[in-house]
């Protein structure tokens, strides 16, 4: 965990944006069959990544350090 928003290089936001791009290019219908399959593969990988990111963190609530004061 080195970056401040996610363990991986690509953030959820970036992954989602890339996924939208891929879906749009497939829907425009100008891709060759080969390109479609490659896009599909990349897209599904992003779907898995995004879903993984949504569930990355376990529920935890902690009060830090010092004594509690009102």
């Amino acid at each position: 965990m080195t970056k401040d928003n996610a363990p991986e290089e690509v953030s959820f936001e970036q992954g989602l944006k890339r996924l939208e791009e891929i879906v749009q290019s497939m829907e425009e219908g100008d891709l060759s069959l080969e390109a479609s399959m490659a896009a599909f593969e990349e897209g599904m990988k992003l779907v898995k990544d995004c879903q993984g990111k949504l569930n990355e963190v376990e529920k935890k609530i902690e009060v830090l350090g010092q004594s509690d004061e009102a």
Binding site: M1, T2, D4, N5, A6, S11, F12, E13, L16, L19, E20, I22, V23, M26, E27, G29, L31, L33, S36, M37, A39, F40, G43, M44, V47, C50, Q51, K53, L54, N55, E56, V57, E58, K59, K60, I61, E62, V63, L64, G65, Q66, D68, E69, A70
Partner: protein, 431 residues
């Protein structure tokens, strides 16, 4: 005046009391007075009584229920207030007091001034510029909150967050949110949370209160800690209408702590739906691509088939055409053709000849018939006869013969010989 001079007029008690009352009402009347509240005692009737004091004096104040709506603050012991009211006295008890008609917090003017001054100073330094405000991450699963650990604000935030997104990692940096030292604790909380590399957004805030209550969030110390924070800060102080310096310095202002919890992160269900919907579109996109490609193949296959068949047909007809021409050009074929031609010519000739022959035959036959009809022999069968003299001369007239001459008569089937016995000439009528 001395005792004997004053004795000129001896007051009645009520008379003196009344004069004191008039004096107070006419000479002083309605005033604003500032002091500290003490001895506050609400009555069952809803009317309130308290004292207003400073270091060396004290005045009783009466706040009737009807006037309480003109008070921007309720009486609280120790509170510094400004009271507007009528100075009067009650003859019955000789006590003078202020009938309060309006009340507000004292020192507000001073606070407002300090607020505006600091706001301008920090704005001029650029601490509030839009350009330096950090964008919030789309999925901040790790949050930090600087607030009172026992306050309602924290509970509100945790409840809203739990409803929106169940699995979050929340670190709470406890801090006093009012009173002396609060600003230092808030600033320290922001600094502490900044030290966690796996923390996405910091929320600072507290529930509603007076300007004095919220004052910690107007301190320079807090504004600078927000400015120095590497992580985005959301400021959520008081009610919708409260604006503090930390609100201006933060990367985002939320009107209340609950609103901050809603602004900081979307609903998990919404995110999941977004991804699911994209997944469906992706799958549909691939399916359409495959269908499209399959159709293309079919179309091409059809075209190929049609084209091939046409080509084969064309070639085949070319071949058979050549074969035919080749065959026609061969000697045997030629002979056959010529023989055939001769036959055809022969037939035509025959036909024309037989035609001619027929016509000639017809004419001959016709002539023959006519001839036959005129054949003397035929005539003979009809009863006519040819009579000749012995010399062979044919008798045409009676003068061709004498009585007693021998004549020969030819009949159809033979001849007879006879002698002329008599001659008689027919008249013209009898011929």
């Amino acid at each position: 005046m001395n005792e004997s001079q004053a004795a000129q007029h001896v007051y009645a008690v009520s008379e003196l009391s009344q004069q004191v009352k008039s004096l107070l009402e006419d000479e002083i009347g309605s005033v604003w007075v500032e002091g500290e509240i003490s001895g506050f005692r609400p009555q069952a009737s809803g009317h309130m009584y308290f004292d207003l004091k400073d270091e060396s004096a004290l005045i009783n104040v009466c706040l009737f229920r009807g006037s309480q709506r003109h008070c921007s603050v309720l009486p609280e012991n120790g509170k510094q207030v400004k009271v507007f009211g009528d100075v009067t006295s009650y003859p019955k008890s000789s006590r003078y007091q202020i009938i309060c008609r309006a009340m507000e917090e004292a020192g507000l003017g001073k606070l407002h001034l300090a607020f505006e001054k600091l706001k301008k100073k920090l704005a001029d330094e650029g601490l509030f510029d839009e350009a330096i405000k950090k964008p919030l991450p789309a999925l901040p699963l790790r949050l930090g909150i600087v607030t009172s650990p026992s306050g309602a604000a924290l509970q509100d935030m945790l409840n809203v967050l739990a409803r929106r997104y169940p699995n979050l990692h929340i670190r709470i940096a406890p801090a006093r949110v009012q009173g002396p030292g609060a600003a230092e604790e808030i600033a320290a909380g922001i600094e502490t949370l900044n030290r966690f590399p796996d923390l996405d957004v910091i929320l600072i805030g507290r529930g509603g209160g007076s300007m004095e209550d919220l004052w910690a969030f107007n301190e320079e110390r807090v504004a600078r800690a927000i400015h120095a924070s590497a992580k985005p800060v959301i400021s959520a102080v008081g009610h919708e209408t409260d604006f503090t310096i930390s609100d201006f310095a933060a990367d985002l202002r939320a009107p209340t702590p609950s609103a901050a919890a809603e602004l900081v992160i979307g609903r998990k269900a919404d995110f999941e739906e977004q991804v699911r919907s994209l997944e469906k579109r992706l799958q549909r996109g691939l399916r359409d691509s495959l269908d499209g490609a399959a159709q293309d193949v079919d179309t091409l296959q059809d075209k190929l088939w049609i084209h091939t068949r046409h080509t084969v047909e064309r070639l085949r007809s070319q071949v058979s055409d050549r074969a035919r021409r080749l065959q026609q050009a061969s000697p045997r074929a030629q002979l056959k053709a010529r023989t055939e031609a001769v036959h055809q010519a022969e037939k035509r000739l025959q036909r024309s000849l037989s035609g001619r022959l027929n016509r000639s035959q017809h004419r001959v036959l016709a002539a023959e018939n006519r001839l036959q009809a005129m054949n003397p022999a035929q005539v003979l069968t009809r009863g006519y006869s040819i009579t000749r003299t012995a010399s062979g001369r044919v008798l045409r007239s009676i003068s061709d013969v004498q009585a007693g001459e021998e004549v020969s008569t030819r009949l159809s089937d033979g001849h007879i010989t006879s002698t002329v016995t008599h001659r008689e000439e027919h008249t013209h009528d009898e011929r």
